[in-house]
């Protein structure tokens, strides 16, 4: 069996001014090929004006199982939200 092709993650900017968003992944031999496959596979209906491809192995991701220790503490800081502050009704703010 030949060596499997590397996996790439595909991000598409649907419109100028918006962020690139993750749309899926595909296999390709190199980045240029991944870009062309991504164009063919993910933007057949004019979904995008710009594509990013990144080798999946280059993405470092946090694990949801670590969330408790990774994100802690958050719930004890409600004052980071504007709704925490009572502004009287007759003050326009």
């Amino acid at each position: 069996m030949s060596e499997p092709m590397p996996l790439f993650e595909v991000f598409v900017r649907s419109k100028r001014g918006l962020d690139h968003r993750h749309v899926g992944s595909l296999h390709a031999e190199d980045a240029q090929q991944a870009l062309e496959y991504a164009r063919d596979a993910y933007t057949r209906r004019g979904e995008g004006v710009s594509i990013w491809v990144v080798r999946s192995s280059d993405i470092v991701a946090s694990q949801e199982s670590d969330n408790a220790s990774f994100y802690d503490p958050q719930d004890d800081k409600p004052y980071r939200h504007a709704t925490f502050y009572r502004v009287p009704d007759d003050v326009n703010m």
Partner: protein, 320 residues
């Protein structure tokens, strides 16, 4: 690239901006536009970071644990906003080191408001209410700026910023409803911060060096005077609610224009502070430079850690 290419690129760029489309990092753009975006965004980033100093001054002396936790969270937000803006600036090919060097060498500016001292706890309230209030007026407008990464950073910042102004107003309200001494302290803070806050919007439109070009490029969406008027109109009723007097005898509702008329800014003071001769200019810059140098051991440790963990992999490759 020849002259004809440049001309057609410029025509395409102008058409894009005219059509309200955003300019993205890899697009062709005129050099002057690139320079102007770098100048404006890095100035904005520096302001977020230098702006941590007047409030940071009060973290250890906040009157209650609640106020301390809030102030800490706010100052932490400002650091984050600096990061978003530096990163967005770096999409234009300039490095963080160049930006920080320009600040330390005095080639880059930051908002002149942060060259005023925070003398009392009421100043923390006044900064949140007035300075963040003014920043929000400006930043809401910049959510539609023509440079894509800048506009997106503004959307994120505005969302986070909403608590900053409200916590400031809450402090002012507590003081305004407090003892006579607390009311006097709130009034004193308003007296000292009002005019410098109005200066934040910059010179009159006719005298602003970059305004006309920035408006044409849609980097700026509303003029300095328009934004300043908007701020005055929204803030006067808030001051009235607090029972505090805005230190401007010419301030008056104008029924014909449906706006407040207000007095003239002391432009000599504005120019003096911009030029470096404000009450705290030297202190703010020295503190930033010192903190930056002081942090060098942290960056060094990170580099050493990376080098240590990179080594075995390199060896494996060599051996394999």
């Amino acid at each position: 690239m020849n002259v004809a290419d440049d001309a057609s690129n410029e025509a395409r760029f102008d058409a894009r901006v005219a059509a309200e489309e955003r300019v993205e990092p890899k697009d062709w753009m005129p050099d002057a536009y690139r320079r102007n975006v770098i100048r404006q965004m890095s100035q904005h980033a520096h302001s977020e970071v230098i702006g941590m100093q007047p409030e940071g001054n009060w973290i250890s002396r906040a009157p209650t644990l609640r106020r301390k936790a809030i102030l800490l969270a706010k100052v932490q937000d400002e650091a984050g906003h600096g990061l978003y803006l530096y990163s967005a600036t770096e999409t234009l090919g300039v490095t963080r080191e160049e930006l920080v060097d320009a600040l330390h060498a005095g080639r880059a500016k930051y908002a002149s408001i942060f060259n005023y001292p925070s003398l009392t706890w009421a100043d923390v309230g006044a900064i949140g209410w007035l300075v963040d209030g003014a920043a929000i007026v400006n930043q809401i407008s910049l959510q539609r700026t023509s440079y894509g990464p800048y506009a997106r950073a503004m959307v994120r910042i505005c969302k986070e910023e909403s608590f900053h102004m409200r916590q400031g107003f809450e402090i002012m309200l507590a003081l305004a409803r407090g003892s006579a001494a607390q009311r006097a302290m709130a009034q004193d803070a308003l007296n000292r911060w009002w005019w410098p806050t109005l200066m934040m919007f910059g010179p009159h439109d006719a005298e602003s060096a970059h305004s006309a070009q920035s408006m044409q490029w849609k980097l700026k969406r509303q003029s300095n005077d328009e934004l300043r008027q908007k701020f005055v109109d929204q803030t006067v009723p808030q001051a009235e609610y607090l029972g505090l007097a805005i230190p401007d005898r010419q301030l008056k509702w104008n029924a014909a224009t449906q706006h407040y008329d207000f007095g003239e800014i002391d432009w000599a003071e504005f120019k003096r502070v911009i030029a470096g001769d404000g009450p705290c200019n030297a202190e703010r810059l020295a503190h930033h430079a010192h903190a930056h140098e002081d942090g060098e051991w942290v960056r060094g440790a990170l580099r050493a850690y990376r080098a240590k963990h990179a080594r075995p992999a390199v060896q494996a490759e060599v051996n394999g």
